[in-house]
Amino acid sequence: MSATQQSTMDRVHKGLAARYRKEKRFRLFGLSAIIMSLAFLVLLLGSIGAKGYTAFLQTEILLDIHLDAETLDVENLATANYGSLVKRAMLDNFPQVKGRRDKRELSKLVSTGASFQLQKLVMSQPELIGTVLSLWVPADDEVDMFVKGHISRELPESSRRINDKEIEWIDQLQAAGRIKKSFNATFFEAGDSREPELAGIRGATMGSFYTLLVTLLLSFPIGVAAAVYLEEFAPQNRLTDLIEVNINNLAAIPSIVFGLLGLAVFLNFMSLARSSSLVGGLVLTLMTLPTIIIAARASLKSVPPSIREAALGVGASKMQTISHHILPLALPGMLTGAIIGMARALGETAPLLMIGMVAFIVDVPSGFSDPATVLPVQIYLWADSPERAFVERTSAAIMVLLFLLLTMNATAVILRNKFERRW
């Protein structure tokens, strides 16, 4: 008897060290899973940050442009040949360059945007004509990449997009102090462009703004109304059950299916304007409604019944109880839910591809029916572009998008902490 007990205890003791080792190992697995996940996050954000931060600077070249009165006819400033002025100024920097090909290559170091910049300047200040103007103009994107060190000079000439001669010219310009890097205002002020150095996110940001405005204006009132009905009025019947099941299912349906709905209903059936932020907003409304309804219901549920009973007790009608007491108390929670829903809508891409918001749009949209694109779609479009400079700009656009999302989520957290009441 005692012998068997002894052996049981022995067995326990013998196994104990191994079991503790197992315990330790299991715990380590858990911790390393978390650390790995966080490492992924750091890698993701880090690689985008490392790729993108240089896009906030833009290489510029100083040109001494002679605005001669011959080329610039005062009567017809809009159509004058500004390109040739820029070209001549560039060639003036390198009097030793001869030959058509070399000359053409040299003038390509400057962005095609330089002539538009010059045109704008001359048209606003015609008195400049006849003078020599020292002007910083944007460099071409390949030059930009080279100056920022994204193109290594160690590479063989054939495998880089900038040749030895051009590197020599850039070195000369740099030695003469004619190249500088300054803040890339174009990136925040311009619409999309095929030229990376002229492309900006303003068009996409405004498109996102209009789209989200439509989404907010539709989904918040409808979502709150639906939540109020389901929480306060809905009788226990088949219809209510059906609505609840639908809301839960819609919250889990892939977003691209909403895009198909938008394409079939809003574009083909109702023939609304393609690519417009109105249709984009409508599709995102359908997508965010379930989120907002669920959040609003949770927020209504958290208002204690004593408030309701007190209001009803002093003779308020049900509608008065809700509109005077419950809604104001539940509003911060509803707003938090709405902001989180909006943040999700801001990052959404797939359904908008379906309704044609993926077009190349240069103009900044100025209304709900203008063709527009949104920030995530712009990121998608740029990510597809072959130019090396667009990688940098894509990353920068992602940084802007993440910053906006962070701001929205932080607002939601602050709102919740400030107004949340524990009953």
Partner: protein, 461 residues
């Protein structure tokens, strides 16, 4: 008068009606000192405003949605008389021409005079119709407002009427969820049926070749498109499988650590950080997958002497897995926390270590919930679009080799539908058939998952 202008005028009238109604109610309450008003004056105002705005707006909306089809029909009847019999295609073409003439987007001079006449007729009828509608709407607004105004009496139960109207509005808003579902089903189903009229259902479900090309000429090379969904589905499940192989262990272990081992402070900092992974837009993950992960995997593969496609399923699946980690972990966390403490205490009392308790007691108890959360995660993975669009391939290879490029349902939908499309070719309709498939698969997964989770919760509460 333009419709938006008309709506503004009606709304302005309705505001006016509100003030008039309110004033009259005030006057009545002062004058009739013996009988008290049933409701507060504001409610009388609101009732008058509602009576003013709602009927008029209904008229405006009805005309807006009905005018174009009716007028087109009348105009095209005229055209048909002039032109004789027309095939439906020709008719559609002419309708488009007339539309463009009306909106002024055809500038050429040599337009068919019959069509020009039709466009003119359309324009003049539209003009008359709009005028008539404006007059009708405005007189209705005034008339109904006057009717409501004249009914304001102390005995009128204005508050109840207004509340009834608001309740109807609330009910309508809540039924929108049903309409969205019905809309999704109908729009996808309708186009899919048209697709299945041209491509047999069995070819679609069991076909082994996917190449959605349609011939423009009959003798063109590769003229016959084939629409077998199996390779596309294989690709989808391959990528989702890789994603789940990443997300389930990482997510589950994170959830276990956070709920069983971590202190409150660690939990409070790490949980939001993990949630950030879920908050990053998918297009960002796609960019990351295409630009960082895919080249990395290809280089690693090359150093082992393997040829890895630059659009390998592995890269897309890996990144998708990372995206889904917080999804699995937060859902499993909830489920593990819902396991009653008494089960843990019982296990500790028998001398089990923490990990033994987790493996032998908590996980089996939480299993249905965990399965439910994994199913929800699978449906997320299958429906995920941007990562695969940016990082996975377009060619439908039927393979289970994760180093090769495969395509997915969502990628095909996007590639078939982006850009201008014609809506009678099987190529575009195929996208809707794939959408229907996606909808059904995710719906079934969601329903099962929600059912499993709910059933499990009931057991302990």
């Amino acid at each position: 008068m333009s419709p938006s202008m008309l709506v503004t005028v009606v709304l302005a009238l309705s505001t006016l009606a509100f003030w008039q109604g309110k004033r009259r109610a005030f006057a009545l309450s002062r004058q009739a000192s013996t009988t008290r008003m049933h409701s507060r004056p504001g409610y009388y105002g609101m009732l008058t405003a509602l009576w003013c705005a709602v009927p008029a707006l209904v008229i405006v909306v009805a005309w807006q949605s009905a005018s174009d089809p009716i007028l087109t029909r009348i105009v095209m009847d005229g055209v048909r008389e002039a032109k004789g019999a027309l095939s439906p295609d020709q008719l559609n073409l002419m309708i488009n021409d007339v539309r463009n003439l009306v909106s002024g987007s055809i500038y050429s001079q040599n337009v068919d005079p019959v069509l020009q006449l039709a466009a003119k007729r359309y324009q003049s009828m539209m003009h008359i119709g709009n005028m008539a509608m404006a007059v009708l709407a405005l007189s209705t607004a005034l008339g109904t407002a006057y009717y409501a105004y004249s009914r304001i009496k102390p005995t009128l139960r204005a508050r109840n009427h207004v509340e009834m109207a608001v309740e109807i509005l609330l009910t309508l808003c809540s039924t929108i969820a049903i309409f969205i579902t019905v809309g999704i089903v109908l729009s996808v189903l309708f186009e899919s049926i048209r697709f299945f009229q041209q491509v047999p259902l069995t070819d679609f479900l069991f076909g082994l070749k996917w190449s959605p090309q349609m011939a423009i000429r009959a003798d063109q090379a590769g003229s016959s498109g084939s629409f077998g969904a199996i390779p596309v589905l294989t690709g989808t499940f391959l990528i989702s499988g890789i994603a789940m192989a990443i997300a389930v262990p990482f997510g589950l272990m994170s959830a276990i650590y956070l709920s069983e081992y971590a202190g409150p402070k660690f939990r409070a900092t790490v949980k939001p950080l993990l949630e950030i992974l879920a908050g990053v837009p998918t297009v960002v993950y796609g960019f990351f997958a295409a630009l960082v992960v895919a080249p990395l995997i290809r280089d690693i593969g090359l150093s082992f002497g393997l040829s890895v496609s630059s659009e390998s399923a592995l890269a897309a699946g890996l990144v998708m897995g990372i995206m889904i980690i917080p999804f699995v972990s937060s859902l499993s966390d909830d489920v593990i926390n819902a396991v009653p403490q008494s089960l843990r205490d019982g296990s500790y009392g028998l001398g089990a270590t923490k990990s033994e308790t987790i493996k032998l007691v908590i996980l089996p108890a939480a299993l249905p919930g965990i399965v439910g959360s994994i199913l929800l995660a699978v449906s997320r993975a299958i429906g995920e679009t941007m990562i695969v669009v940016m990082a996975a391939g377009l060619a439908a290879n039927m393979t289970v080799n994760p180093l090769q490029a495969v395509t997915t349902v969502t990628v095909q939908i996007v590639t078939l539908l982006v850009g201008d499309q014609e809506f009678d070719s099987p190529k575009t309709l195929a996208a809707f058939a794939l959408g229907l498939l996606l909808f059904i698969v995710t719906l079934v997964l969601n329903v099962i998952a929600l059912y499993v989770v709910r059933k499990y919760r009931e057991e302990y509460e």
